[in-house]
Symmetry: C2
Subunit: 152 residues, 2 copies
């Protein structure tokens, strides 16, 4: 578990809570321009609402931040997300050239950073962000557990 | 090399050509509703035009087809693409529950199906499409080679 306290991470948790309220798996993400601390984008999952299998919080903030910056490369930006990114999102973070990835709960079932295909461990991965996992792990896991418990 | 001739694959090649004409890496994709043969979506890369690192042809057709079908799951659909999908797109194809993946050129440098993280080989991959690679391989590779040669 990482002992990193960050107001940006709290924004991601807030987005996860909002996602839960609208019936989406509670995952929230934020992208911050590192030199200025400006929040470029924040989002929670929108898979069900948008009928879009790619509408994970990470993809949504990458698309929004790239649009704001006016470039497909977010080299000076960091991404905060409440759950270990899946392989799709881990690879998108690499393609976007994000500087750092801070994530909350580990995801042994569907994660793609520390689990499964471990996206950043292959020589064909052309950009590897700095990764900090396990931030506010207990809280982020609890949000997910509560959501799935209610749905049973 | 797979000896599969398909009008759908020709549509993907046409989208790759259009992408090249607008300065994008020539990759084109098509999604077809398998039982009816209805083309739900076709697209080429739009990374540079849209300033979006996730705007690969595969992601664009998945988003468009899911929107048309009104569901994040494309269970009865097949995806045709001129290049081996990268890890992001390979994982998105799994998340979208696509039935079959037909791809053209193999991509040892950045592919995610037969190369790199080999997305479909992990127990954490919850849906594995049927995969047919190497379709019109020579033509699909040539399109890419010509594009990069012109840019040097």
């Amino acid at each position: 578990m990482q002992n990193i306290k960050s107001p940006f991470f709290n924004l991601a948790i807030e987005e996860a809570r909002l996602a839960s309220n609208r019936g989406e798996v509670p995952v929230g993400a934020v992208i911050v321009e590192a030199p200025t601390g400006r929040v470029l984008a924040k989002a929670g999952n929108l898979i069900e609402k948008n009928k879009d299998p790619t509408a994970h919080a990470e993809i949504l903030v990458i698309q929004a931040a790239a649009c704001i910056v006016g470039s497909p490369r977010l080299e000076n930006c960091d991404l905060y997300v409440t759950l270990e990114p899946c392989p799709m999102c881990a690879a998108a973070i690499s393609l976007a050239r994000l500087r750092r990835l801070y994530f909350g709960a580990f995801d042994p079932k569907s994660g793609g950073v520390d689990h499964g295909p471990k996206i950043y461990t292959h020589p064909t991965c052309h950009h590897i962000p700095e990764v900090y996992g396990g931030i506010e792990e207990t809280l982020c896991s609890l949000l997910l557990k509560e959501f799935f418990l209610k749905r049973r």
